[in-house]
């Protein structure tokens, strides 16, 4: 889940203060009030995505400069809210520094909210898609396992066995400290709400004692003003005697661990630590390695303690996802369980671990104790749910889902999480194993093995499983050959995840025909029919397991090549899984999928030509539609004409004006030259200071030009001029003889005025070189530019 981080740089303007109040209402947003650059630098470095608001230009410049590495990427957005608009230069400079947005104070808050939403929404969608893709791949992997009919047949037997074991364990364990662990976890679970924030402030103080942890947690709640949980928590703590139970449970847990588990697990730990490497569901290899190295010291308790899971969740900044909103809501969530829980669990044991990281965390056996105390929380379901377990494994799964459905974010958005929940419910709680301490140990080992199996795509499966099984068998006092049965059993015990996922896929395929949304409830229902199957321990030998493992690897590879597996029919999948995988081979569907993403229209067309109907018409149509949508948004590429509008002549003319004693005739000549050059036109200029008097020619451009198209016209111009002169002098507006520009010789009259006084005109003739109004305007411009010179003559300067 993408965190919606909003940084508000103080001092806040009135608008930003209002905006802050609005933002505080939105629980999806995490607000950071920053007052100094140093503070900002610390925060911006660790936030994945953020929007920074500031209302001071100087401060904005300062923080943009200081955090240049962080503010210029697409993960952050910087908005400056100002009362007055910035001048373009400043705006440009700020934009270069990384400022994305400048807003005026008068803009309503909702616009800001929309902008915030539009920034984070695509990120969230992208993350969701990535998660879905990952789940698809995982589901494809496990599909192979589902196809094993043997396992399906053996399910009932295994389940029965397991329930029996749980019943035995219930009697043995009774109301041990595990239940209290859950109490403690509940409280810590609360702390998760703001875990990321807490971590930032507390600097991951894993080693702090429990008391300190509580303090930290409290601080967090206090600082989170808008959190409804803040109000709910004290009441809840009081009700459930949170502090007391927390410390008690921890003591008990530690005691149990020291007395029983530790010696045994220390023996097993090297193997398990290897496995924890293998199960690298997330990209936290470094962290896990570190944890693994601590494993020996910490013992196996961590391995099976879901508290560790929570600690891991904290490390992943995701804690609040599974957070119940209020105490009342928590009660609602848990009411379904209370009947089944032992009294010692009471109202605190009802929380079911809900977190998408759970399955990963289940194998983080080696987080140190303090860290676990501080941050873990998810030990509820297996501690008190013995009866539940007895009655049905499904109940466990469903209860997890119920809890998860209470969490809006997790329940709605993340399918992977859902699968993980099942996994967690089934395989992560060895402490509660009905097999007792020693069997618990074997179960733990089994889990390790099963994880290893899940992670079979990784190279670390090279682990010597046989040797490990022998070791376990020895500790369990099993006959020598019995160790061979452990692995298959444990593998199958872990396999529910695979099977559940596989069943999900199948259900989804079935549902695809109905085009229905695959809701969480639907999934949980459908899972019932495909409940995880425990393999027949006697029925599968190690060699079979290895064989199966190889098969999984092979088919997994094949399915990986087919990311669209999810869209295939079951028959398609089965057919494909039966085919041998050839490296480098890319299925048609995979290709289609690729095309869908990049919209390679050309490639699609080529393939259509080559293969004709071999491609799915629906997919082609989909691609085409996507392409069309994309094309509709494609900006129109426009090249602008390199047109100067004749302005270069004006610039040159202008330069003449600055020359000392420039003759006016030269200016007229230049204007004439411009017309000749552009239009092969001739021009003559007349002045007339008195309306009654005959116009006086001050420049004759017709007579002297005999080289252009108007040569013959020029020779007769004098007669023509005599006839037309009076008429020309009566023209008071620029006038083209033919405004459609069709005449072979088009005449243009341009009269000059100064202070509403008529001062003369120029007449020009164009040998059909002006063909439109654009050209006509250019010609008018050339005629117009002599006005100053005419003025000069009118004032008595003479044409010289």
């Amino acid at each position: 889940m993408v965190e919606r981080n909003i940084i508000l740089f103080h001092p806040l303007s009135e608008k930003l203060t209002k905006l802050k109040a609005e933002l505080e209402k939105d629980e999806n947003l995490i607000l950071y009030d920053v007052e100094s650059i140093d503070e900002y630098n610390q925060i911006i470095g660790i936030l994945e995505h953020s929007i920074t608001f500031s209302s001071d230009k100087a401060i904005t410049v300062e923080y943009l400069e200081n955090a240049a590495n962080f503010v210029k990427d697409r993960n952050s957005k910087n908005t400056l809210v100002l009362q007055a608009s910035l001048d373009p230069m400043e705006m440009k400079q700020l934009q270069e520094m990384g400022l994305n947005d400048i807003q005026r104070e008068e803009i309503p808050e909702r616009v800001f909210l929309d902008k915030i939403d539009s920034f984070f929404s695509p990120l969230e969608i992208a993350e969701k898609r990535a998660a879905e893709l990952k789940q698809k791949e995982e589901a494809n992997t496990f599909k192979v396992k589902v196809q094993s009919s043997k396992k399906e047949e053996s399910y009932n037997t295994n389940e029965k066995l397991r329930i029996e074991k749980m019943a035995v364990y219930d009697e043995e364990v009774g109301q041990k400290g595990n239940l209290e662990i859950s109490n403690k976890s509940t409280n810590l679970f609360f702390g998760n709400k703001d875990e990321k924030k807490a971590k930032r402030k507390t600097d991951y103080n894993f080693d702090s004692p429990v008391g300190e942890l509580k303090k930290d947690t409290d601080i967090e709640f206090e600082s989170h003003d808008v959190d409804p949980l803040k109000k709910a928590l004290p009441e809840f703590e009081e009700k459930n005697n949170y502090s007391q139970k927390q410390s008690d449970s921890l003591n008990l847990e530690e005691k149990d661990w020291k007395e029983k588990d530790r010696p045994q697990f220390e023996e097993v730990s090297p193997e398990l630590s290897k496995k924890s490497h293998d199960i690298d569901f997330d990209q936290q290899a470094g962290e896990k390695k570190k944890k693994t190295s601590e494993f020996k010291e910490e013992g196996i308790e961590r391995k099976s303690n879901p508290l560790d899971l929570d600690a891991e969740v904290g490390g992943k900044k995701s804690g609040h996802a599974a957070f119940p909103e209020t105490a009342a809501e928590i009660k609602t969530q848990t009411s379904g369980f209370e009947e089944q829980l032992p009294e010692s669990v009471g109202s605190t044991g009802e929380f079911i671990p809900v977190d998408k990281k759970l399955n990963k965390k289940a194998v983080d056996f080696n987080i140190n104790l303090d860290e676990r105390k501080k941050k873990s929380s998810y030990d509820f379901d297996q501690t008190g749910n013995d009866k539940q377990k007895k009655s049905s494994k499904f109940n466990e799964k469903n209860s997890s889902k119920k809890t998860s459905s209470l969490d809006s974010e997790l329940a709605k958005s993340d399918k992977v999480k859902d699968a993980n929940l099942n996994f967690e419910a089934e395989g992560t709680h060895p402490d509660n194993s009905p097999l007792g301490p020693s069997k618990k140990q074997s179960l733990a080992v089994n889990k390790g093995l099963s994880f290893d199996e899940v992670d079979s795509e990784q190279t670390n499966k090279k682990l010597d499983l046989k040797e490990h099984d022998m070791d376990v068998a020895k500790r369990l006092n099993l006959p020598e050959k019995e160790h061979e049965k452990i692995r298959p059993a444990s593998f199958e015990e872990q396999n529910p995840l695979a099977k559940t996922k596989s069943s999900d896929i199948e259900d989804r395929r079935e549902n695809e025909t109905k085009k229905s949304v695959f809701s969480l409830d639907e999934r949980s229902n459908t899972k019932k029919s495909y409940n995880f199957k425990e393999a027949d321990k006697e029925g599968i030998s190690t060699s079979k397991f290895d064989e199966f493992n190889q098969e999984v690897n092979r088919k997994q590879g094949e399915l990986e090549e087919n990311p669209l597996g999810d869209n295939l029919s079951r028959a398609d999948i089965e057919t494909k899984s039966q085919r041998s995988y050839r490296p480098g081979e890319e299925s048609e569907l995979a290709k289609n999928n690729y095309r869908e993403e990049v919209l390679d229209y050309r490639a699609l067309k080529d393939e259509m030509k080559l293969k004709g109907s071999a491609l799915d018409p629906a997919q082609i149509k989909a691609v085409r539609e996507k392409l069309i949508l994309k094309l509709l948004e494609e900006p129109e590429l426009e090249y602008f004409p390199t047109e100067s509008y004749g302005l270069e002549y004006l610039v040159l003319y202008n330069d003449f004006l600055w020359k000392k004693n420039i003759p006016m005739a030269q200016l007229f000549k230049f204007a004439h030259f411009s017309l000749m050059k552009e239009f092969e036109a001739n021009m003559s200029i007349f002045t007339n200071t008195d309306d009654d008097s005959r116009p006086f020619k001050i420049y004759d451009g017709h007579k002297n030009n005999k080289v252009n198209k108007l040569a013959s016209f020029s020779s007769t111009f004098e007669d023509y001029e005599t006839k037309k002169l009076v008429k020309w002098s009566q023209v008071r507006l620029p006038q083209w003889e033919d405004e459609t520009f069709q005449l072979d010789i088009n005449e243009f009259i341009y009269p000059f005025f100064e202070d509403n006084n008529y001062i003369g005109f120029c007449v020009a003739h164009f040998p059909k070189t002006v063909t439109d109004h654009t050209q006509a305007r250019k010609a008018e411009l050339f005629c117009m530019m002599v006005k100053g010179a005419i003025l000069n003559i009118s004032a008595g300067g003479g044409a010289q």
């Binding site: 229209y601 509709l632 590429l637 270069e648 610039v651 040159l652 202008n654 100053g788 003025l791």
Partner: protein, 332 residues
């Protein structure tokens, strides 16, 4: 690479089914819609609508990947298609030609300070003008119509060593020196620097005979507005920034300028740059005093805020400070 080929409705036939999608682009609204989906028959009503839209200035388009199908299925050959798209195809060719011609030259080293020193010593602006010319000729033609106009003006004018071109050249480099790098703003500055005085064509040259008296002549004080007026006669609606820079090219930081006696931050930075360039080059060319002066000396006058007659050094400090780094002997 052209994305869409412009086509006309006449090339399509009623009742026919085309295997490509036809789009309709409304230039005014900058909006593209699907005119006809591939595989759907073209109906008479549709084609009538197209014609009606074409009359309003919209035009049909076909995606470039569908060119082959278009030529195969519609009544159009390649020549006609190119003719319909000649404007954009020619512009693309022109751009390609310019990039090829001026692009490599642009990579050659150029030290403004050194070139100014040379120009100052020799009174030869050729190198500076050439450099500005080739840099501007690489401006993209698809950016803005003003940018295209600027490249054309520069191509025609920067071969002539005249005062307006010198001023525009200096303004261009001074703007770049002050971190104004985007092509549009630079274009605005160049065009404004070139055209700022075209309004003088409306004034009797006699008014301009005495430079020192100019500020006492009402007509001269109006010339920025007259320049805008002349500019409007081109029929082209020039960028509002260009108009602003022209109007402000005689305004001074302390309000001592004209025509509106604007001051301080109310004057845009490019306007200051144009004004400063104008004053430096005018003074250097001898227009102010009747006596030519070394360019670097004049720059130094402004940099030092020397109380030289005929110079108004009322500019923003940072602009004058930036002149220091243009002078070889000064430490910026």
């Amino acid at each position: 690479m052209i994305t869409f080929y412009k086509v006309v409705s006449e090339v399509f036939e009623v009742e026919k089914i085309y295997s490509f999608t036809i789009f309709l682009y409304d230039k005014e609204r900058e909006n593209r819609v699907v005119a006809l989906k591939d595989g759907e028959p073209l109906e008479n009503d549709t084609i009538e609508q197209w014609k009606s839209m074409e009359e309003k200035g919209a035009y049909l388009q076909v995606f470039n990947e569908d060119k082959d199908e278009l030529l195969l299925q519609a009544n159009i050959d390649e020549t006609y298609l190119n003719e319909l798209n000649s404007e954009i195809l020619n512009s693309m060719k022109e751009q390609e030609y310019r990039n090829k011609k001026y692009g490599p030259l642009r990579e050659q080293s150029f030290v403004l300070k050194d070139e100014l020193a040379v120009a100052s010593e020799t009174n030869d602006f050729k190198n500076l003008m050439n450099r500005a010319h080739l840099e501007i000729m690489c401006f993209p033609l698809y950016l803005n119509d003003l940018v295209s106009t600027t490249t054309e003006l520069v191509d025609k004018l920067f071969i002539r060593d005249i005062l307006p071109v010198r001023i525009a050249t200096f303004a261009y480099f001074l703007a770049k020196h002050n971190k104004i790098e985007d092509e549009l703003t630079l274009s605005q500055i160049i065009v404004s620097a070139l055209l700022k005085d075209i309004g003088l064509t409306m004034i009797s040259p006699a008014v301009l005979s005495e430079y020192k008296e100019l500020t006492n002549r009402d007509l001269y004080l109006k010339h920025p507005m007259l320049s805008i007026f002349v500019l409007s006669k081109t029929g082209k609606d020039f960028d509002k920034h260009v108009k602003r820079f022209i109007l402000e090219h005689h305004e001074q930081y302390d309000g001592s300028g004209f025509p509106r006696e604007k001051r301080d931050k109310y004057i845009d930075m490019p306007s200051y740059i144009i004004n400063l360039s104008d004053q430096i080059l005018s003074y250097s060319s001898g227009l102010v005093t009747g006596k030519e002066a070394k360019l670097t000396d004049v720059i130094r006058y402004f940099y030092k805020r020397s109380p030289v007659d005929g110079i108004n050094s009322s500019f923003p400090d940072h602009l004058l400070e930036s002149l220091g780094s243009l002078l070889k002997s000064e430490v910026s």
